[in-house]
Amino acid sequence: EADIYQTPRYLVIGTGKKITLECSQTMGHDKMYWYQQDPGMELHLIHYSYGVNSTEKGDLSSESTVSRIRTEHFPLTLESARPSHTSQYLCASSPRFGFQETQYFGPGTRLLVL
């Protein structure tokens, strides 16, 4: 099991609310990623970071934002949630050295926006 944690695991929230999805890893990995996955569909990269104070948008356009102030922490924020944001959000990390290509995933946050 990878040491990467996501909270909450499930979230039901009303339209217009601000939400933050937490992701933390204790492996000292410098690279971290956020993916969005709908049932039966592929994972889409929405944000990634190669280290502290580094953040980039992924291949899928997203209204969410991320920050990377500490190596171990990579939270994702939605300023105003909408039903179209309903999805599963997966956080992952990979190391600086060694098996850099391997990504370790958290358990995911399943978000439902009413």
């Binding site: 990878a2 690279k31 990623y33 993916y35 039966g40 569909m41 592929e42 994972l43 889409h44 990269l45 990634y48 190669y50 992924g58 291949d59 997966l90 956080c91 992952a92 990979s94 098996f99 850099q100 290509e101 391997t102 990504q103 370790y104 995933f105 958290g106 358990p107 995911g108 399943r110």
Partner: protein, 111 residues
Amino acid sequence: SQKIEQNSEALNIQEGKTATLTCNYTNYSPAYLQWYRQDPGRGPVFLLLIRENEKEKRKERLKVTFDTTLKQSLFHITASQPADSATYLCALGTYGYKLSFGAGTTVTVRA
């Protein structure tokens, strides 16, 4: 446009048989290809990586082949067990350690 296609239908096999999954891609030049396992409600778990200059990789009952001419990878689970039931994802690695994923193939192994 870039596309990654995995077996569109779920795979249902008898325990002890070999499951073979396909991953085809277009308009990619991957440096490496990975296979992940995903159980319901969980994040993917890394299984195997194969690089563009490698033809085959094995790990216990798992075998992966990679044909960059055909733009195809095959993933084999030999002597399958009910515990192998899961969704298997193919992922192509490109510049900057980013991965592009297929939609996955769901495998069910009957006892």
